[in-house]
């Protein structure tokens, strides 16, 4: 392949990488917008810390496990990624670096999804520990199985088809979120004395909107870049599928929530877009344009009912379990339904649709559908097992959840020492950054003993 082709491919991947990293801002604002004001600042510190730790973990270990050749279960080269190294038999060069960075961006997205269920009550330390385990082990194992030539890349000759990661990235994140939630429990006041769920509205729909649009935009890099090349301008087809499904997701969710509550819920419209995008992630490179809106529409309707159903039992403020978990499963399976003969990976069979309405062999399609199901199962088991263990460990050691007083006061003041919107909670600086006397007590207060929540009588 002439050098220029590789360079064009990598330039495209570079663009996609930037777009996928941008999604971090999307998740940040989705979470901040769906949190109360007293928990608005912690989301910033969290996203930065997560991205940071995940980056180092991926560079040191994760990348090697995911892409480092090796066996069915994990790669064995590429650790502490550096020059003069061979990864899966190839010498490291600019192209390898670019692809390694692109892989990291995906890992970071998957991790960001995890925290959606944990808002407003988790200990900051939990992010730190889990982020490292996730970036070094959890995500890499799944990525290796499907994309790294591992177990799922060949099941009885049939490969799992997950173009950009409905299950590898999104389901993985959602399962981590599920494990965390089980050990964490709901926010104070989420369920009343009779166990009925109560509404705890987030504080800013505009920020939620910012998050959703950023995610939507980033997805063009997420799916479009997963071609890894520009050959045949195939990325154009992938991007169009992505847009069609996202649109249908918005429509589906808006309709569903309107029918249920007679109002057009802003957050649900956003969840619908995300569900549509998550749904099309796996099939974006394998289905025809007409199938994309169908996949998105189903995902959009699904997310509304799922959010309402789950809310009865589990406290998932941003709807991560529904939008990333269930929509991720649907997306993975939908490849087995709508996969088009001209697009499916070699060895794979077209979707059931073509068997039922076309003349593709039914058995083969069913087999492929089963294989897609296997990917879901595998992802769930592996991720859940390691995640629940990790969170249990955290719970048993440093603790997983802040105490009631801290939760009541909000994570901003209790974990970060300052509210996310300082002036909305404290008197104006004009009269708070006071006189010598104030400073004096300020100084005294610096001792742990006088932490906000433990302020003692004078």
């Amino acid at each position: 392949m002439p050098q220029i082709v590789s360079e064009l491919n990598m330039a495209w991947v570079a663009v996609a990488t930037v777009l996928v990293f941008l999604m971090q801002a999307g998740f940040m604002f989705l979470e901040i917008g769906f949190s109360r004001q007293k928990n608005a600042g912690t989301g910033v510190a969290k996203i930065l810390m997560n991205l940071a730790l995940c980056t180092i973990a991926w560079w040191a270990i994760g990348y090697g496990i995911a892409e480092g050749g090796g066996n069915d279960f994990f790669g064995d080269s590429g650790f502490f990624f550096h020059f003069n190294q061979t990864v899966a038999g190839e010498a490291v060069n600019g192209e390898t670096a670019m692809l390694m960075l692109y892989g990291l961006a995906f890992c970071a997205v998957s991790l960001a999804i995890v925290w959606g269920t944990t808002l407003e009550r988790i200990k900051f330390g939990a992010y730190v520990i889990y982020a490292i385990v996730f970036g070094a082990v959890i995500y890499p194992l799944v990525a290796h199985a499907v994309w790294g030539g591992g177990l799922l890349s060949d099941i009885g000759g049939k490969p799992v088809m997950d173009f950009a990661g409905s299950s590898v990235v999104h389901l993985t994140g959602a399962v981590g979120a599920f494990a965390a939630l089980l050990l964490l429990g709901p926010r104070k006041g989420k369920y009343d004395t009779r166990g009925k769920p109560r509404v705890i509205p987030g504080h800013s729909m505009p920020l939620v909107g910012l998050g959703v649009i950023i995610l939507w935009i980033g997805w063009f890099g997420f799916n479009g870049g997963s071609t890894f090349e520009t050959a045949g301008n195939f990325f154009g087809e992938v991007m169009l599928n992505t847009q069609l499904a996202a649109a249908a997701g918005v429509i589906g969710a808006s309709l569903a929530v309107y029918l249920k509550s007679r109002t057009l819920d802003v957050g649900m419209a956003g969840n619908g877009a995300i569900a549509g995008l998550v749904g099309i992630t796996a099939p974006s490179g394998f289905v025809e344009y007409w199938a994309a809106p169908i996949i998105g529409l189903v995902a959009g309707v699904l997310v509304v009912y799922a959010v309402l159903a789950i809310d009865r039992l589990l406290d998932d403020p941003v709807g991560a379990l529904s939008a990333h978990g269930l929509a991720g499963i649907w997306g993975t399976l939908s490849v087995g339904i709508f996969g088009s003969a001209r697009l499916v990976s070699e060895g794979a069979a077209p979707g059931l649709w073509y068997a039922v309405f076309g003349n593709e062999p039914f058995s083969a399609s069913l087999g492929q559908f089963a294989v897609q199901g296997l990917a879901v199962l595998f992802t769930f088991i592996v991720v859940f097992a390691i995640s629940i263990a990790t969170f249990a460990l955290i719970k048993g050691t440093i603790g997983l959840r802040v105490d009631d007083e801290e939760e009541e006061a909000g994570l901003d003041i209790s974990s970060h020492g300052m509210y996310g919107y300082p002036e909305q909670f404290i008197p104006q600086p004009e009269y708070s950054t006071g006189l010598p006397t104030t400073l004096g007590s300020g100084a005294r207060a610096a001792t742990p003993a006088a932490a906000p929540m433990t302020a003692t009588e004078q």
Partner: protein, 122 residues
């Protein structure tokens, strides 16, 4: 008539409101306040430095009632607002000379009276 002013914790409001409603006192007002008292201020940290905020957010409850209803309302407030910790706040009672319902223009104690149908929990 008396005006009952209470500085309470935010958490205490909903139970007070609900019980007052049950007892036939649907009418009240709340105002966001900040206060200092025996309870110490909040210590904040910003960019590595420390800052003390000397007032804490409180909720000010205002209810105007007939003289005879005052004890009942005060007792209801005390019941739900007390945690035993510093910062529970205080209740003050002030005299009111006149009360007028704007909608009807009618004045006097009756404008404070609970209306039969208001007895039921809303």
């Amino acid at each position: 008539m008396k005006k009952i002013e209470a500085f309470i914790r935010h958490e205490a409001f909903e139970p007070i409101r609900a019980e007052l409603l049950d007892r036939g006192f649907p009418s009240l007002s709340i105002i966001e306040a900040k206060g200092s008292g025996r309870q110490k201020g909040i210590i904040e940290r910003y960019r590595g430095s420390t800052l003390t905020v000397n007032v804490r957010p409180k909720l000010k409850l205002e209810v105007v009632v007939e003289d005879k209803d005052k004890p009942l309302v005060v007792e209801t407030i005390l019941k739900h607002a007390r945690t035993g910790e510093v910062g529970d706040g205080k209740v003050f009672v002030l005299p009111v000379e006149e009360a007028i319902r704007i909608r009807t223009g009618e004045d006097g104690e009756e404008v404070l009276q609970a209306h039969p149908e208001e007895g039921a929990p809303s």
